[in-house]
């Protein structure tokens, strides 16, 4: 889209989306970049710059219409699009993801879990079946899967991600404590839980 929007901008979009949702729920109809900046602890300048990468959603002298800006950003983020997700690893985290019902309203569908543990296979979590991991290749090739969530042990992560890539997956939601090693057209969104805890630890140990 346009001439490449920076990662920093894109990463702020979901945050705008959240704040606008809040404003709608509070019955706020219009908001200026100035007001929004106070709420979000950003600069009004940044907000206007960010939004203008995607179009002129505001109106001089008025500001932004909350509802329509919410819709616009939702469109940009593709919340109306359906996205199919498989989860590798039916452990505690994998099951928790599938059980959480907050993703579906934004178009995310969990299609299947996969696990090495034969005893789990055939069972289901929140209506989502667990399949043996050795079926994942066939499964991906015969279904339209957009995203693979990895909640498997670290030592299998790279191997599995490569297998998934070869089967056609390009979008990865990586919960393993390792960086995947994939070709450049793979998009990996890392959720490194230990990393974030370690950052907290750093802050605790270096508190003034």
């Amino acid at each position: 889209m346009k001439n490449q929007i920076s990662k920093a901008v894109i990463s702020r979009l979901p945050r705008y989306y959240r704040y606008l949702r809040e404003l709608i729920d509070q019955g706020v109809e219009r908001i200026s970049s100035e007001e929004l900046s106070r709420l979000m602890k950003a600069t009004a300048s940044q907000i206007r710059q960010d939004l203008n990468h995607f179009g002129g959603f505001g109106q001089q002298g008025y500001g932004y219409n909350v509802k329509s800006l919410y819709k616009e950003i939702g469109n940009i983020l593709g919340v109306e699009q359906a996205h199919n997700i498989i989860v590798l690893g039916a452990g505690n985290l994998g099951r928790a993801l599938v059980k959480y019902n907050g993703f579906s309203q934004h178009g995310f569908n969990f299609c299947s879990l996969f696990d090495v543990d034969e005893a789990l296979c055939g069972k289901s979590v929140n209506g989502i079946g667990i399949r043996p991991i050795n079926e994942v290749d066939d499964y991906v090739r015969s279904h339209e899967i957009d995203i693979a969530a990895l909640t498997i042990p670290m030592d299998k992560a790279r191997e599995m991600s490569t297998l998934l890539y070869d089967a056609g997956i390009r979008y990865f939601w990586n919960f393993t404590n390792i960086d995947l090693q994939l070709p450049d057209d793979a998009i990996v969104k890392d959720v490194h839980l230990l990393d974030s805890l370690l950052e907290l630890s750093y802050r605790i140990c270096n508190a003034k």
Copy 2:
């Protein structure tokens, strides 16, 4: 520490730590910033800059000793320090965190879960007791708690975080889909799962 190290640098430390662990496991003894940069897809310059914020860990003509650099970074991150964590919300995610055993080796101890559901209270998960949420204030005031992990519904998140702050908590691991609103000396590390999914969604919708 020193004259304020930027967030960008700090957020890279856990990543260095992970790669060095890998190198140790592979039996690598020394590494140059050049080699490490190829591995981590960063510039050698950045690596040297980053590390030098904390001290001269390398040696000209030799590079860095993997084991001792690993230890140094571990120290900076405080992996030897014990950190006590409570988890608010004994739902799927809260339980998954407590059940995951990968955090304890870096000094993180889960002390207690808290939940509104009376039926859960008294039970325990992975040996960690679940207490009623209305006891959390007393609990925090009578124990040395460093970090509060929030895995509660969004609509209670701000209220609870303020209560915890008033009880003395300064470090928050926030899994709720909302930004906390706390005084400046509170350190919040957000894990916005939906945000990261939405970023993936954006990338899918705007591919190529």
